[in-house]
Amino acid sequence: MSERVAVIGTGQTKHAAKRDDVSIAGLVREAALRALEDAGLGWADIDAVVIGKAPDMFEGVMMPELYLAPALGAVGKPIMRVHTAGSVGGSTALVAAHLVTSGIHDRVLTVAFEKQSDSDAMWALSVPQPFSAPLLAGAGGYFAPHIRAYMRRSGAPGHIGMQVAVKDRLQALKNPYAHLHLPDISIEMVEQSVMLWDPLHYLEACPSSDGAAAMVLGSEQAAAAAQVDTGRRPAWVHGMAMRSEPTMFAGRDQINPRAGRECAADVYRQAGVTDPRRDFDCAEVYVPFSWYEPMWLENLGFCDEGDGWKLTDAGSTSMDGGDIPWNCSGGVLSSNPIGASGMLRFLEAAMQVRGEAGEHQVDGTRRALAQAYGGGSQFFAMWVVGTDKP
């Protein structure tokens, strides 16, 4: 009964540690204007705007959709602001997509951003709160123990994380928008980088970036019109899902969270995917620390539990000869404007399906998966996009 929805335009900024050439409005407009241009549309063609970002404390602007509404052409239109922690870029795209699948709007602009250099990401993510435990470990200190637990549970050898770190940075060299371009990246270089939170090296962690991502989502009619105007085909959304679970509770599996498994099952059912490794041509998955690639390979059902690291080890997730390339854009390990990082996954999957990914295009991609997660591995957002109209 739902209407079809497709991605008909994508745009992103050049991501960088500090985009000191733009205001907040300038940053989001850079991505939004590229998405509009890609869709062959102007501001007046848009029916509604959905904007997402992580905590307001990054920029020190409370509910910035109010200040940004005129910058995004939203005057006289509906605008919504989503915040679901690290998964927000993905869930923002899903809220926008529902505005189309529900039959309410035809063309929705969705934007996600973070201009975290206005403050400091480490500070904003862990503003010290009264009565809470003293800051013991910093951001990675939260995830490193889970990585150790994964290694113990799966028996993965120590070099797997470094392999992911190298692979994603090599792939980022093919993405002109990526923040990190490290042409000399190698296992040795990762190994010799500072061991931040043992077992995590510095080069196994994501950077802190300024950046924005934008998409125009269209109804079946809007997609047909855009294809005629621009000659570029839409990426059809074959399935979308969100799941949340509590931050902590007795017996919670933080390595292979049930919310992630069930979110994947839901989105696969909608898209008719039964064997993700076979049915997808590539995937964009939120991997902020290298070891999350093998963990999410298992969580997303690309292999049996405990076998994720074997796929990484065999090079299966590499663009260079792998059968199921992950994060051809360079992923979160290469660009991390936190609020936009999830939307970049969704957007990059759409670019692959549209054949518009340039140098990091996986030829012949017909179906791709995007995943974003946030909080303490507790919020998940996913979509499946494909070339075929569902």
């Binding site: 205001s23 300038g26 404390m57 020190g60 005129p70 910058a71 005057v75 206005d118 009565f131």
Partner: protein, 179 residues
């Protein structure tokens, strides 16, 4: 860092009734409270248009942006606030203008531009089609009215750094100007 509060705090009067909030309530049942400060010295990159505006303020002049249908937006934005299309060239406006609304503040709060009583004002600068929010340094509310002429009073050049507070305040101006 941790303390139990004794005595009630008088809360700044923005309630609809004079209220004194008893912050010891709850302590009787052992509920703990603590002071918490959220503080950061944000440093914002401003981009070309706001950058030009702030540079202009540092130089002692006020710039607006040309928008659609002959509008001149002050303070200027990269985009027309109604259509989102990019704004055009920057034009000098003011420094005099007309008050379009005002509100008298008898008891200024910390961080506000003046530490003695003043009026918040919306000022339509000569040559602009929108109004700027700032403060008016006037002796009393009886000397403020909508439609009155005012002009920007800049800080001395040596004290201007390129921020909205480079305009110290607006002041009454009996210039008989366009108002």
């Amino acid at each position: 860092m941790f303390y139990f509060l004794h005595g009630a705090r008088k809360v700044r009067g923005i309630d609809c009734e004079e209220v004194t909030v008893d912050q010891t309530a709850g302590a009787d049942e052992g509920v703990l409270t603590s002071a918490h400060v959220l503080e950061y010295p944000y440093s914002r990159s401003v981009g070309p248009v706001i950058g030009a505006f702030l540079t202009g303020l540092r130089d002692g002049r006020i710039l607006g942006a040309s928008g659609s249908n002959g509008s001149v937006v002050v303070p200027p934005t990269e985009y027309d606030p109604e259509t989102a299309e990019a704004t055009g060239e920057l034009v000098e406006v003011g420094p005099a203008g007309t008050v379009t609304s005002w509100a008298w503040i008898a008891d200024p709060a910390p961080g506000q531009p003046l530490d003695h009583p003043f009026a918040w004002v919306l000022v339509r600068l000569d040559g602009a089609t929108t109004s700027v929010l700032h403060v008016l340094d006037a002796p009393s509310p009886s000397e403020v009215r909508t439609g009155m002429r005012v002009r920007a009073d800049f800080l001395p050049a040596t004290e201007r750094v390129g921020r909205i507070q480079d305009i110290r305040a607006f002041v009454p101006a009996d210039d008989g100007g366009p108002g």
